[in-house]
């Protein structure tokens, strides 16, 4: 295929994503330096107000006072995203290893069932947990029927339920990349380790984990990024009372009508995610060189 026809074929994809995704990012960046229009949108003059708002609140007399509200929301979002990633890793790694150890046919079947939820509407998957966790929900009903509790436990609308929703949503993102790296392990390496009297723990620590690491890192990025910006789990399972970044951004474009601040927050989480991905790309070649 000639160069011209290659360019011709690739250009629709590049143009569509470039114009409707990359350029909007830069427009959002520009918007984050504008003044909010109280009716939505932005107006001149250009300011740093949106970024100042991360740390300070403007008082009535126009003086800036330190306010940790937004920083706390950002810290909580980071904490929940990191916790989600950690839980998914702890659960995903053994599951991926278990699948790798099965026969070809069972592998396919298990992978199918792990992949399937990924394609099911997140809105509906999240909603299912309301049915289970709410006061009149299945979990409380079961516990009451069994006589374990008298009054319903407040299972919904807390950090625990948000975390549960996030793990439920993103677990497949962790299992699949780990599986695809583990699948390529040469079984003779493991047999050699056992022949040399390594125990299970030593084999895991010295053979399996080093080989699984690239997949685990890929999975961690795939879980962390969407978890940090998640909207549905915090909104439906957190009750929207305690905000996370995702809902905070959404609010700036609906009820709060502060587009520059919303744009600034979006730029901030995109920057965090780019940083994480760059760290990964930066450490990867070094690891390969050492291996």
């Amino acid at each position: 295929m000639s160069r011209q026809s290659t360019l011709l074929l690739i250009s629709p994809a590049v143009l569509v994503i470039g114009v409707f995704m990359l350029i909007p990012m830069f427009i959002a960046l520009a918007y984050s330096f504008m003044t909010a229009n109280p009716y939505g949108g932005v107006q001149p003059p250009a300011t740093f107000d949106a970024y100042v708002q991360f740390l300070y609140q403007r008082d009535f007399d126009d003086s800036l006072i330190f306010s940790p509200d937004y920083i706390l929301i950002i810290v909580r979002s980071l904490y929940l995203a990191v916790a989600t990633t950690a839980i998914c890793l702890v659960l995903g790694l053994p599951v991926a290893w278990y699948i790798v150890c099965q026969s070809e046919q069972r592998r396919r079947l298990l992978l199918f069932f792990i992949t399937l939820p990924f394609w099911i509407n997140t809105l509906i998957r999240t909603y299912c947990w309301i049915l289970i966790l709410r006061d009149e929900g299945l979990a409380n009903k079961l516990l009451r029927t069994l006589g374990i509790i008298a009054d319903p436990l407040p299972l919904l609308y807390n950090d625990g339920s948000i975390l549960l929703g996030l793990v439920y949503t993103f677990l497949p993102f962790m299992v699949l990349p780990i599986y695809s790296t583990l699948e390529r392990i040469d079984p003779r390496l493991i047999e050699a380790a056992y022949d040399l009297y390594a125990g299970r723990v030593a084999v895991f620590r010295r053979v399996i984990w080093p080989l699984a690491k690239p997949g685990a890192l890929a999975g961690a990025t795939l879980v962390f990024a969407p978890a940090l910006g998640s909207f549905l789990a915090p909104d439906l399972l957190g009750g929207g009372k305690k905000l996370l970044i995702g809902s905070l951004i959404q609010m700036q474009f609906t009820s709060s009508r502060n587009w520059p601040f919303g744009a600034a927050l979006s730029i901030a989480i995109t920057a965090v995610i780019l940083l994480v991905m760059m760290l990964r790309a930066w450490t990867a070649p070094q690891r390969e060189a050492r291996a």
């Binding site: 295929m1 000639s2 160069r3 026809s5 290659t6 074929l9 629709p12 994809a13 590049v14 569509v16 994503i17 409707f20 995704m21 909007p24 990012m25 427009i27 959002a28 949108g41 659960l91 053994p94 599951v95 278990y98 150890c101 298990l110 069932f113 399937l116 939820p117 394609w119 099911i120 509407n121 809105l123 509906i124 998957r125 909603y127 299912c128 947990w129 309301i130 049915l131 709410r134 299945l138 009903k141 439920y168 677990l171 056992y194 084999v203 990024a225 969407p226 910006g229 439906l236 970044i245 995702g246 951004i249 959404q250 474009f253 587009w259 744009a263 989480i269 995109t270 995610i273 991905m277």
Partner: protein, 264 residues
């Protein structure tokens, strides 16, 4: 007592854990489906099997309007994104990109990496900066963008898988580029194109966040409407419509996964 011979393929506890994870993944969906068929208005109290809530949502004009919007957007976005993805996959796998291969890959993967909320608000900002308030058209454009990588993945994988040998043979026999594509590449690629199109369709039909931010009064999609219902509380109607959406995703994705596996 028979003792199991040592095998590194067996780790105690991993099998029950995997079963537990599968139960964890599927029980909530099962709960939803069971409740959707409950005849009682009180969702949690089982009163008997009934399909009345499905009839109720079928008769709801708002839901039908939203479903119509969703369908129009999904069909348009699927056609556009699959075409774009097919051309892009051919260029990436069979073309000679002089420079920027990594850049193109990065750009095409962007909709997968950037958090949905960021895509949603940047798209909203973009349309508002242009002063473009075209209702469904805006949504079709937004959906096409994030459907491209999903349509691209199976097509690109298949192209990589099948190699270029048959196409080479065709060229050796003096077939023109167009004939090679029409008589060799396209028929071999057809199942993967089908799989990619189905994936794109499901992703578009299921999208909530981007649709919510970009849609306006007349262009509400089904998930956006259902979200509005959910915010008002747990009702049998929400369970029924959610079950319908769940069933649609399951049927389409299962067929796409089977189609994608088929070796033409």
């Amino acid at each position: 007592m028979t003792r199991r011979a040592f095998s590194w393929r067996y780790t105690p506890g991993f099998a029950p854990l995997t079963v537990a994870i599968l139960v964890f993944l599927y029980t909530p969906l099962l709960v939803l489906v069971v409740y959707a068929f409950n005849s009682s208005r009180m969702v949690t109290i089982w009163q008997g099997f009934s399909t009345q809530w499905f009839v109720a949502i079928g008769e709801n004009g708002d839901i039908r309007g939203a479903a119509e919007n969703s369908l129009i957007i999904a069909v348009a976005a699927t056609i556009a994104s699959t075409l774009i993805a097919l051309l892009g996959a051919l260029a990436l796998e069979r073309g000679t990109l002089a420079f920027g291969r990594g850049l193109v890959h990065g750009l095409v993967a962007m909709p997968l990496v950037v958090p949905e909320i960021v895509v949603a608000i940047t798209t909203l900002v973009f349309f508002s900066a242009l002063g473009m308030h075209q209702g469904l058209i805006n949504l079709i454009i937004a959906h096409t963008v994030f459907c491209i990588p999903f349509a691209l993945l199976p097509i690109q994988a298949r192209l990589k898988d099948m190699g270029g040998m048959l196409e080479e043979a065709g060229r050796d026999l003096y077939a023109s580029e167009w004939n090679v594509f029409r008589r060799i590449t396209l028929p071999l690629l057809a199942p993967a194109i089908g799989a990619g199109a189905i994936m794109a369709f499901v992703i578009s039909l299921d999208d909530f966040l981007i649709s919510m931010m970009v849609s306006s009064a007349g262009s509400t999609t089904l998930p956006v409407y259902v979200y509005g219902m959910m915010r008002l509380g747990v009702t049998p109607e929400v369970n029924a419509i959610s079950t319908v959406l769940l069933a649609i995703s399951l049927v389409f994705v299962a067929s796409a996964l089977l189609l994608g596996r088929r070796r033409a």
